[in-house]
């Protein structure tokens, strides 16, 4: 009797850990271990001796922080970061602004054909990024684009979208086209969750639809706005598909256009796994810092507002 009781209590105590084991094992195997390996790689380097031909001419040695100092003093990585930030300054406000606008319009009472419209706006999100970039890339090339054909016929100026400043617009356009639908659905869903009584009360107080949208709907969906902003920042810093797909079409996109493209080039184009690992760690760290910094700032503001 006594022994069974002890065993049972021991089993109950152990149960949570047993339940945790699969998740922990999977986390360790497929998340912590690869990241740990990348960090380990980033502290090492390959040392060649002499001509570097034949066996034993190449060995892996400890590099300390060398890869990190190299990455941080690399002007290409810095320029890539600046390019991506510039790109983000266009993408994030435009995409979220449009998503909010569409969500509010779909949520208004007067809208017709809402399900069809919603699907039409959402549809580009279902198209893989590479396909979307290819599709737009073809539309940007003056010689094959129907847009340029029309512009030419109308005698209008034909800007080169794959060069200089317009290139940023061209890339942003692809991201906005593909991402607006997803963000719209997130915002729209939280709009739908607002209880009807709130609107009723507002209407009784004499609020116009515009006032309802500005004073009630937007503040009430601000948590989803924060969330979509958070996702967008991460996606911006990790931009890779669009510029990589457009790269073969133009001389203006270098192999190091975005930070991730540089990581990819160094690891797989130039065979420097160790330097690439260090850059990847830095980018991951910067992304974490930026996105969680934003999240904390947003939370603090919400708390302040709640306290008021």
């Amino acid at each position: 009797m006594k022994s069974t009781a002890r065993r049972r209590s021991y089993g109950v105590k152990g149960a949570p850990y047993a339940f945790l084991v699969p998740a922990t094992v999977l986390f360790a195997l497929f998340f912590a271990l690869p990241i740990g390996y990348a960090v380990w790689l980033s502290f090492r380097k390959v040392q060649v001796s002499g001509l570097g031909l034949g066996s034993g001419a190449r060995k892996e040695v400890w590099a300390g922080l060398e890869n990190y100092t190299d990455a941080l003093s690399d002007s290409e990585l810095l320029h890539g970061t600046l390019r991506v930030l510039g790109y983000g300054c266009i993408v994030v406000p435009v995409m979220l602004g449009l998503a909010l606008l569409f969500a509010l319009m779909l949520d208004s009472e007067k809208v017709r054909l809402a399900p069809v419209t919603r699907l039409a706006i959402f549809l580009p999100y279902a198209i893989p990024g590479v396909v979307a970039a290819l599709l737009w890339g073809f539309l940007y090339l003056p010689d094959v684009s129907p847009f340029y054909f029309v512009l030419d016929r109308l005698g209008m100026p034909q800007p080169d979208l794959l060069d200089g400043g317009p290139l940023f617009l061209a890339l942003s356009n692809i991201a906005v086209w593909g991402g607006t639908g997803f963000n719209m659905i997130v915002i729209y869903t939280s709009l739908q969750a607002i209880p009807a009584e709130v609107y009723e009360a507002a209407k009784l107080d004499g609020a116009t639809p515009l006032q309802i949208a500005l004073r009630i709907k937007i503040p009430m969906v601000s948590p989803s706005l924060v969330l979509t902003f958070f996702f967008s920042i991460i996606a911006t810093l990790q931009v890779f598909n669009e510029p990589t797909t457009l790269k073969p079409l133009t001389n203006s996109v270098s192999t190091t256009w975005s930070p991730l493209m540089k990581v990819h080039r160094d690891a797989f184009g130039e065979g420097d796994i160790h330097g690439a690992a260090a850059q990847a760690v830095i980018i991951a760290f910067a992304t974490l810092l930026l996105s969680f910094g934003f999240l904390r700032a947003a939370n603090r503001r919400q708390k302040q507002e709640a306290a008021r």
Binding site: G52, D163, G271
Partner: protein
């Protein structure tokens, strides 16, 4: 109850671990012990289309006799495969045989991924031109690969449009520039060709024709001469043409480029022997209107060409059956039956000299049906291929080329500066890795 639950958990964990080990066991080729003869099962990584059919010939013929079976694993081409081979080699699991472009051989050898097969495939030397064979020895006594296909460079042009605009086929680069200018005058919206910065192999081939030797060794030091006088000459020539607007500066292989070739907006292309295949898909409407001529020369008395593309078959150091693998590599690239099948199934231009004018190469490619002596001419041109000199970080030079020359072509600025950047980046990378580099 909890006891059994825990036991089940343990059992599952063990099962997973076992599964993992069996998977790992599947991944590695288990050793048969005997390395010289006896049954051998080889894996071959290649991107050549139709290679499985050629390998079938081996498995049913000479391979059956020697009990050497080869299995083809289709791969992505070029640099992607180099990365994959190096990664697999790190784990000690590279396949027995790999396809590798000539310029990738030093990188692979430097990573100790390729085996010296001079004992088993050395006698194949006589079947190849010296310049081609030398690329597989890296100037040493070792042999690291057997040449498979080559890409001697040639000049392709629209015969009908050349006639229409009163242009003659340029035999020197000066004439080439004159032709470009003449066309611009006659038809301002057309271009003779484009300078494309998205395929480094083209520029490397042009430099090779001019006599450049980018990587050489003296003693145990590398000498990097990417911005030597010969390459400077090539860079300045093309940079000048782009700057004055005599030729286009947009990249190749884009939908716009296809259209330009197909509609006659661009009327010539500096390319290699494999161009008919590319033109067939890029410019299908102009079939039969193109002709091929030798590459323009730097001086009228010269007669040489560069090479753009081409690959070899190599045996890895991870192979348990190096002798058997080398035997297959030699058969694949020197046996007339194999070479015929390679030409027919894969459309490659063989490195073996005797195969260049026999079998599938008696007739011109369908796209060039109008030029009956296409392959006779090609073989003559192939003979004039200048020697090439590859180093252990061609990949770095190539990526720098794309960025530096892409930017220079876009802004129509100095190609010489872009070339210096290519040299500086390549040397810096070698020094960083620890190679001994002579200044």
């Amino acid at each position: 109850m909890p006891y059994t639950k825990r036991r089940r958990l343990v059992r599952t964990a063990v099962a997973i671990a076992l599964g993992a080990t069996t998977l790992a066991a599947c991944g590695s080729q288990s050793a048969d012990g005997d390395t010289e003869s006896g049954p051998a099962s080889l894996t071959y990584w290649t991107w050549t289309p139709g290679m499985d059919k050629v390998v079938d010939l081996w498995n049913k013929g000479p391979g059956k006799k020697d009990r050497i079976t080869v299995t083809v694993k289709k791969q992505a081409s070029g640099d992607t495969l180099v990365t994959k081979i190096l990664t697999a080699h790190k784990a000690g699991k590279a396949p027995d045989l790999v396809q590798a472009e000539y310029q990738a051989l030093p990188t692979l050898v430097s990573n100790d991924a390729l085996a010296d097969i001079s004992k088993n495939a050395g006698e194949a030397e006589g079947k190849f031109a010296d310049g081609v064979w030398q690329q597989t020895t890296l100037g040493t006594d070792a042999v690291y690969a057997v040449p498979q296909d080559i890409g001697p460079m040639m000049f392709y042009y629209r015969e009908d449009l050349f006639k229409k605009y009163g242009l003659t086929v340029p035999t020197t680069w000066d004439e080439f520039a004159e032709t470009a200018r003449k066309l611009k005058k006659a038809a301002p919206e057309k271009d003779l060709t484009t300078f494309s910065a998205n395929d480094s192999g083209l520029f490397a081939g042009l430099a090779q024709q001019a006599g450049a030797k980018w990587w050489t060794t003296s003693g145990d030091r590398w000498k990097v001469a990417i911005n030597d006088a010969a390459t400077q000459k090539v860079a300045k020539f093309w940079g000048g043409l782009v700057k004055e607007g005599a030729i286009d500066n947009q990249p190749m292989y884009t939908p716009a480029w296809n259209k330009a070739l197909n509609t006659g907006k661009q009327i010539a292309w500096v390319s290699a022997v494999w161009a008919p295949g590319t033109l067939t898909t890029a410019a299908p409407d102009t079939k039969g209107k193109w002709a091929m001529a030798p590459l323009p020369q730097w001086s009228a008395s010269d007669n040489s060409t560069g090479s753009w593309g081409g690959s070899s078959t190599a045996v890895t150091t991870d192979s348990e059956h190096r002798a058997a693998a080398a035997k297959f590599a030699a058969w694949l690239n020197t046996d007339s039956e194999a070479l015929n099948a390679l030409a027919k199934e894969s459309g490659i231009y063989p490195a073996a000299t005797n195969a260049q004018t026999s079998g599938a190469f008696l007739k011109p490619p369908a796209y060039f049906a109008n030029q009956a002596d296409f392959y006779t001419k090609a073989a003559d041109i192939a003979e004039t291929t200048a020697p090439s000199a590859w180093g252990p970080n061609v990949n770095v030079a190539y990526t720098t080329f794309k960025d530096a020359f892409g930017a220079a072509a876009k802004s129509k600025s100095d190609f010489g500066a872009a070339l210096d950047e290519m040299q500086a980046d390549t040397v810096a990378d070698m020094k960083k890795q620890g190679f001994e580099v002579a200044e």
